[in-house]
Symmetry: C2
Subunit: 148 residues, 2 copies
């Protein structure tokens, strides 16, 4: 059975949040305040330059990622497709689902006419770095974060 891709719906919020938060690197990050995941979902859902995607296998959501299309004057005026929050449920890892997800995202960005696809990956995720390199990505940049 091959993975099916679709835009996330409001009822997918709990499973997406679980996929994001069960990741140990995410869980180790400092956090404060009460999260409002439904408000965040509504903001993404209403924005034509943001797509929250879920991946289903046999009707079950097993992966998620978000793609943001960023217009701008650098890169010769071309849009950037940025991929954030890529997660595959632990029992479904190492089956090539992540690879299908990234290929799907790259293909979608290409069809849209984007100039490049970009993402950042925590330096602790060394396996992920080899994975992204195998897809043709270059680790050409340092990714800086400042938590507010």
């Amino acid at each position: 059975m091959s993975p099916q891709f679709r835009t996330a719906r409001r009822e997918d919020v709990p499973v997406i949040v679980r996929l994001i938060n069960e990741d140990p690197i995410t869980a180790a990050r400092p956090s404060s305040g009460e999260p409002d995941y439904y408000a965040a979902f509504d903001a993404v859902d209403a924005d034509p330059r943001n797509e929250l995607i879920v991946v289903e296998l046999d009707g079950e959501v097993v992966g998620t990622m978000q793609i943001t299309y960023i217009p701008g004057l650098s890169r010769r005026g071309g849009e950037r497709a940025q991929v954030e929050a890529v997660r595959v449920a632990p029992p479904y890892r190492n089956r090539g689902i992540g690879r299908e997800m990234m290929r799907w995202a790259i293909d979608r960005a290409r069809r849209r006419g984007c100039a490049l696809v970009q993402l950042t990956s925590d330096k602790a995720r060394t396996d992920a770095h080899r994975f992204y390199a195998s897809l043709g990505f270059t680790a050409s940049h340092e990714g800086f974060k400042l938590i507010l």
Copy 2:
């Protein structure tokens, strides 16, 4: 005279493009096709989650940056403020303008309630990396790019 910040206008496009392209690392990147900077400007200008900023000194545009506010379910549903295409005109470098720009961007993100500020910087820009670290940024991530 302290730098003045404002949203870019359509007539600023030529100076912004010059600031972006006179950078040697940008100039060395492969490129193809005819750029349409005005279409890119219009897309940014019409998007409430994108701000193209110019910095003026004595009425002259001496710097530019773009801020994108990315909603999402990671980071506990908090928006990310992403800074792209930060440039200061060569004759105005090493005067603290870049620092004022980044502090302005961080302050703007904080007031908006963003969870974090993020940016990527080409690995060749080692001076910039020290600069971002001095502002409190952590180089916690690898920045991957795939040119389409």
